[in-house]
């Protein structure tokens, strides 16, 4: 009698816990599942359908979209899409490298400043990214338009043709990307510099005469986790960027994001857009996976935060 009531009260506790888990987690989990997982699965399915009238997908299933993505169209093969893909990769690579070049000394400089200034300095770096992407990019359009001081300067140096303006161009896109992603690199690098083990650096200064070697052996490895985290935060969204190339680049500066978006916004070829999206997803998850692998190998057990 006592036994059975005890058992039932224990069972009630277990059931209660499970019900608690369901009540607390279910609304969000169901929300994300219905409004993100299902749409993503549907989008992937679309990539394997045929393009119908008005750009809406149709049966039968086919690989048409992927062939189009590779450049095969009604008029035979054209390299346009391939160029777009390569340009996306190139822009990602160049802008990430430039972001590192700028962010590294900035993050270091902030750690050398007095402690009470550091939060304010970090805030100063981050605040511009609080404004809307479109507005930030619009600011650069104003700065780089023909007839502005910067364009005139480039003109007089012979870098661009007369009355051309610095935008639209590939250069403007790179600049916009660097501007957009700089804070995402500064923050993790700053965190890494702040944790820097000064004793190691001093030991290295004792061991290696040259500051360059001391830096390379003692400082750089310690900042590597931050560098990797920053690369994840910069390179992956840069690859899928839509707004910046759309506004600052012309037709010749298109990136994968534009190719995909255009199929939905105006061009109306959903399967082609979906195929492009699959490519982007592969790049995203591949990139994340690669960074985690590298992070685990180099970070000395330290997890790279994504």
């Amino acid at each position: 009698m006592v036994e059975s009531s005890l058992l039932s009260s224990r069972r009630r506790a277990v059931v209660g816990e499970t019900r608690h888990l369901l009540f607390s987690v279910a609304p969000g989990a169901v929300w994300i599942f219905v409004f993100l997982v299902l749409p993503s699965v549907y989008l992937m399915a679309v990539a394997f359908m045929t393009n119908g009238p008005y750009g809406l997908p149709q049966m039968p299933l086919s690989l048409d979209a992927f062939e189009q993505l590779a450049g095969f169209g009604f008029l035979g093969w054209s390299p346009g899409n391939l160029y777009t893909l390569l340009r996306s990769l190139w822009q990602t690579l160049v802008s990430t490298a430039l972001v590192v070049v700028v962010a590294y000394p900035i993050a270091y400089y902030i750690t050398t400043c007095r402690e009470k200034w550091r939060p304010i300095m970090l805030l100063a770096v981050v605040v511009p990214s609080w404004t809307n992407q479109v507005i930030r990019t619009f600011g650069w359009m104003n700065l780089l338009a023909p007839g502005t001081p910067l364009s005139d300067l480039a003109d007089s140096l012979g870098l661009i043709g007369p009355h051309m303006g610095l935008y639209p161009s590939n250069f403007a896109v790179t600049l916009g990307l660097v501007y957009n992603f700089l804070p995402f690199m500064v923050l993790p690098l700053y965190a890494a510099f702040e944790k820097l083990d000064v004793a190691q650096v001093q030991a290295a200064q004792d061991l290696y005469a040259s500051p360059v070697r001391a830096f390379w052996h003692a400082v750089f490895p310690q900042t590597l986790p931050g560098l990797l985290a920053g690369t994840v935060l910069v390179a992956i969204p840069a690859f899928g960027m839509y707004v910046i190339p759309e506004l600052l680049g012309g037709g010749k500066s298109m990136m994968l994001g534009n190719l995909v978006a255009n199929q939905f916004a105006g061009g109306s070829n959903w399967p082609l857009g979906a195929a492009g999206a699959i490519l982007m997803l592969l790049a995203t998850f591949g990139g994340l996976y690669a960074m985690r692998r590298i992070g685990k190998r180099l970070g000395g057990g330290e997890e790279v935060v994504i």
Binding site: V2, E3, S5, L6, S9, R10, A13
Partner: protein, 379 residues
């Protein structure tokens, strides 16, 4: 319901100690605790409690003592209702509370980490339990002032928790539990985070407080000195089983088994190879002991308390005589500890420092042991 003699004792003790603080001393009905066949498993194979039967008298200062992982904290958490036993019953004040959730038990806990709410002031922390029980604000305010005065931290009530020192937090945590006037107060190693000086001061204070309030205290610790200083009775636990329950001097002087003896700090334990009437054969040789101490089984251990050994002068008639060499001497001020080698075995001896000549390392000494001081301990 509760044991009348214990209640009477508590009342007397209260009368004795409350002279100075008549205002704070609240006559109260303390509650006894009965544990019947408690079992607790974590997961499939971790057994935390393996059949615990125990009665804690009303108004008693009771200590659960044991090494970490012995089950003492689990037992305390079951008393608090924070953990449910897999089997067995728990009665507080004669009432079965096994299935009562913690917020409906008149039991309060002083946590090891103090667990003061960081979002509340000291005053609101103290009043938390009263507020949850729905006492009116004016009443809460009065009681908080009274309790703060009582623990001599009246000036701190408007502070924020993070402004307190460790010792102050400890007292606030204690006051937060006491203010609810529970039937039973549980203390989970509340002194372990404090430094030695503050700790021994609070040990004395806690013990006095308990006597004054006459409340049932269940105290958990791994420190046998602390347990002996404070408790009316001690339960020594190991492997989820109660090894011995008794007053401090019972547990110290007559440990039930070798584990309890070692845990209470005894080093001089010697395996018994044979025994009869008034003698035992040990690794040290044949020793005479009180026949009343003799046990039926041949095996077991002989316990020699270091402070009962005499190193100076003649061996009185009827005493055991041992010959040994001083291997090490530790000067501790009030006493001197010797590590002796007897028959190739180590024997510890402690002498009060009365200004007598100290033995040097390497000295041969004659050791005399009174047969009445030898204790047989079960395996």
């Amino acid at each position: 319901m509760s044991d009348p003699t214990a209640a009477a004792t508590a009342a007397t003790q209260q009368a004795e100690t409350s002279g100075a603080d008549t205002r704070e001393a609240r006559p109260r009905e303390a509650s006894s605790i009965e544990l019947k066949g408690l079992h607790k498993r974590f997961g499939k194979d971790t057994v935390a409690l393996d059949g615990v039967d125990l009665t804690i008298e009303a108004g008693e200062f009771f200590t659960l003592l044991g090494p970490s992982g012995c089950g003492k904290t689990t037992l305390l958490r079951i008393l608090a209702g924070l953990e449910a036993p897999n089997d067995g019953r728990l009665l507080i004040g004669g009432k079965d509370v096994t299935d009562t959730p913690p917020h409906r038990r008149s039991v309060n806990t002083v946590f090891q980490s103090y667990a003061l709410f960081p979002h509340l002031s000291v005053r609101d922390n103290l009043a938390f339990g009263l507020r949850m029980r729905g006492e009116p604000a004016a009443e809460r305010h009065r009681k908080v002032d009274e309790v703060a005065e009582f623990i001599q931290l009246g000036s701190l009530v408007e502070r924020r928790v993070e402004q307190l020192s460790g010792g102050q937090k400890q007292r606030i945590a204690l006051a937060r539990a006491l203010i609810c006037e529970p039937d039973v107060l549980l203390l989970d190693e509340p002194l372990s985070a404090l430094d030695a000086g503050l700790r021994s001061q609070l040990q004395v204070e806690l013990q006095r407080l308990q006597k004054r309030l006459g409340m049932t205290f269940v105290f958990v610790t791994h420190d046998q000195d602390e347990a002996m200083v404070m408790s009316d009775r001690i339960a020594v636990l190991d492997g989820g089983i109660i090894q011995q329950v008794g007053t401090p001097n019972e547990v110290y002087e007559h440990p039930a088994n070798a584990f309890v003896a070692r845990f209470m700090g005894h080093d001089n334990l010697f395996a018994i190879s044979a025994s009869e009437d008034d003698w035992v054969d040990t690794e040290l040789g044949r020793l005479r002991l009180d026949p009343a101490e003799q046990r039926d089984d041949q095996a077991g251990w002989l316990l020699i308390r270091p402070e009962t050994l005499e190193l100076d002068g003649e061996v009185p008639e009827g005493y055991n005589r041992l010959e040994g060499t001083v291997e090490e001497r530790l000067y501790r001020g009030s006493r001197i500890e010797y590590r002796l080698s007897v028959n190739g075995r180590t024997l510890m001896a402690v002498a009060s420092n009365l200004g007598q000549r100290m033995h040097d390392v390497g000295d041969r000494v004659t050791i005399s042991v009174c047969p009445e001081d030898l204790v047989r301990v079960a395996a």
